[in-house]
């Protein structure tokens, strides 16, 4: 640690950063990957000192338990104790609550892997460190070449996540001339066979599946059983390592869009991150870059921000930097994080399934339109 930088430390006060993420609760595994990525990023951005220009970064970790009430309470506690920067959370609902707190209390907030589009452009104080739903959807669009005249069926759960994906596809691919049809399934539904039938009846050119949660195994089985893979390419987002086995036999037939998997980008920064992660006994995973980027942004904000929120916002807006996935830009207008995405397939390796990169999708190609315009 760089704790003993005597003279400097006495002139420049420490900066307190509040990290709120799931340590327990349903998304604890994501929280863990994010946390590991953050530690690696902090190491990288501060050259292992944990300090910026001699100023110690004091990090307080708080567990949101996947519960917005807890998260808000923790945030208020942290803000009350003088925290200037908040970051974190995998849970979209918590991210929007924290964004709200950031605005009410004028602190900087850098949201975690939560994918909701709502965080982009929500207010001046809120930034993001991961990708957003729109980027996922746009990546899916890259699988059918020219969408004009094609028919796309979105198969999703009838939740904010699923609806967001449908809206995204309508905006992205519909905007490019595709006919988009949604097959939305009640979140609690357990029987997907009839819906697989419904997809078949629609005679699609591309099936986009946006699914979260435990029922995905049963869902994929149903699609395979009813022969959906025989009629059109099926695209979906590739989740974290633990889900690779969830697709069963169907895994080989699915075209995956992907935010990140270990080894996807091959950049130097990635190599540094993986080395750092492995040293800490962790493995790179879907949300490792989000944590890494968050650390980079925080360090940058402290370094250039002049200790005021407005200064930090100014420092981050429009900032372009090298990160795990390559070159990343914080768009000034709405704080969207412009970054490349990946096309991936799963291949069987013994008893396991492993991802294999098919193509990298340019950051600009999948950049969301400016929010609020």
């Amino acid at each position: 640690g760089g704790g003993e930088g005597g003279g400097d430390a006495s002139t420049a006060a420490a900066v307190s950063v509040g990290m709120i993420t799931s340590q327990t609760g349903p998304l604890a595994a994501y929280g863990e990957a994010y946390t590991a990525g953050f530690e690696a990023g902090l190491d990288y951005a501060t050259d292992g000192t944990g300090a910026v220009d001699g100023r110690e970064i004091e990090i307080t970790w708080a567990d949101d338990q996947g519960n917005p009430d807890t998260a808000v309470a923790k945030a208020k506690d942290l803000i009350g104790q003088g925290t200037q920067i908040l970051a974190g959370t995998v849970v979209s609902g918590i991210a929007t609550s924290l964004a709200e707190q950031a605005e009410q209390n004028r602190v900087l907030y850098i949201s975690g892997p939560a994918a909701t589009d709502a965080v982009t452009g929500v207010n001046d104080y809120t930034f993001r460190s991961g990708r957003q739903t729109y980027q996922d959807v746009a990546t899916a669009g890259t699988f059918i070449g020219d969408p004009a005249g094609k028919k796309v069926v979105v198969f999703a759960q009838d939740t904010a996540f699923g609806q967001g994906n449908l809206a995204g596809v309508q905006a992205v691919l519909g905007g490019q001339g595709a006919t988009v049809e949604g097959v939305l399934v009640a979140e609690d539904a357990t029987e997907f066979t009839p819906f697989a039938q419904q997809i078949l009846q629609a005679a699609p050119d591309l099936v986009f599946v946006a699914w979260a949660g435990a029922s995905s195994g049963a869902m994929w089985t149903s699609l395979a059983q009813q022969g959906v893979f025989d009629v059109a390419p099926v695209v979906t987002g590739l989740g974290d390592v633990s889900t690779y086995g969830a697709y069963g036999e169907a895994g080989a037939s699915i075209s995956f869009l992907n935010h990140y998997f270990g080894g996807a980008s091959g950049t130097d920064v990635e190599a540094a991150m993986i080395a750092s992660l492995e040293e800490a006994g962790a493995t790179p995973d879907l949300f490792s870059p989000d944590g890494f980027v968050a650390a980079q942004m925080i360090v940058h904000a402290i370094r250039e921000g002049g200790d005021t929120v407005d200064g930090m916002i100014d420092a981050l807006e429009g900032w372009t930097f090298e990160s795990v996935k390559g070159e990343i830009t914080v768009r000034a207008e709405d704080h969207a994080l412009i970054q490349p995405m990946y096309q991936v397939k799963l291949v069987q390796d013994g008893a396991n399934w492993v991802p294999e990169l098919v193509d990298t999708v340019d950051a600009d190609e999948v950049a969301p339109p400016v929010a609020g315009e």
Binding site: E191, A214, G217, A218, T221, Q225, Q226, A246
Partner: protein, 291 residues
């Protein structure tokens, strides 16, 4: 046409799963007045242990599945009997407290399962035949639905016979009404009640293993997902009526399928409306006793 067949048969399959959970629930409630919120946990633990054993012996084969089922049934019965013996028994006839204890148990056990097996679902292997389909009247029906239906029918028949053909059945039915009087006739009623829990737990255990086949995973929340519907089915069928629970299971599941498909995913709402409607017309459920 084939869509209708598909909806019907898959509805029956789902109904079978509901029934496997509801049968134990209904039995325990009807006979002992205990609203058992821990029933979902019986199911979950059976599914987990069944899976652990099955995969170690022979993953994804009939032998493995058979073993899982056996272990599931045994675990369900033992855990349920132990629950009754160690906890419920101390609160005989204090029905509210009994229900409360089971609430506490279910909260604690789900947390414990999460601690042991993690929060993510664990995907399971099953025999190939079960992942294939059979075409019935043009509809491609997944084979595991047939397995579910067959098991549910067997369980229904078995329990009905037990209750009406055996002395234990008689004791249980009497003990529900007036435990003191049954003991005053020289019968150790507590043993009968433990037995009821064991039977209910065994049905849930089988349900747990089959649920893991149906969903393709085991997770700490497997039981809670099914429990609410099992409750609804139990009430619609008439508390304590096994046949009622069976009929209601099928009705609810089929209704749910059709509503989900044709009425824009409104299956859950339709079930709620059905529950309210049935209770308003027949406050004691379809086959509930009318005294």
């Amino acid at each position: 046409m084939d869509t209708v067949v598909l909806l019907l048969v898959t509805g029956l399959g789902l109904g079978a799963l509901y029934f496997l959970v509801a049968s134990g629930l209904s039995l325990i409630y009807g006979l002992m007045g205990v609203l058992n919120f821990a029933h979902g946990s019986f199911l979950t633990i059976s599914a987990f242990l069944g899976w652990e054993v099955g995969r170690r012996v022979s993953d994804g084969t009939w032998l493995g599945l058979g073993l899982s089922a056996l272990v599931g049934v045994a675990v369900g019965a033992i855990v349920a009997a132990a629950t009754e013996f160690l906890i419920i028994r101390r609160l005989y006839e204090r029905h509210i407290e009994q229900a409360l204890v089971t609430v506490g148990l279910s909260l604690a056990s789900v947390a414990l399962f999460e601690g042991i097996w993690g929060t993510d679902p664990i995907y399971t292997e099953r025999p190939d035949w079960l992942t294939e389909t059979t075409t019935v009247l043009g509809a491609r029906i997944p084979n595991d639905r047939f397995l579910l239906i067959a098991c549910a029918v067997l369980v229904l028949g078995g329990i009905v016979l037990f209750l009406h053909r055996t002395r234990y059945g008689l004791i249980i039915r009497a003990g529900v009404e007036n435990r003191h009087m049954v003991t005053a006739l020289g019968i150790d009623v507590r043993r009968a009640f433990t037995l009821v829990f064991a039977i209910g737990g065994a049905a849930a255990g089988l349900g747990g293993v089959l649920a893991s086949v149906y969903y393709g995973y085991v997770s700490a929340h497997l039981g809670s997902v099914l429990l609410i519907f099992a409750f609804i089915v139990t009430v619609i069928g008439g508390l304590g009526s096994l046949t009622g629970a069976a009929i209601a299971s099928v009705l609810v599941a089929v209704l749910q399928q059709f509503a989900n498909f044709y009425l824009a995913g409104t299956g859950d709402f339709v079930v709620v409306v059905a529950l309210a409607a049935v209770l308003l017309v027949r406050p004691r459920g379809l086959l509930g006793r009318t005294t």
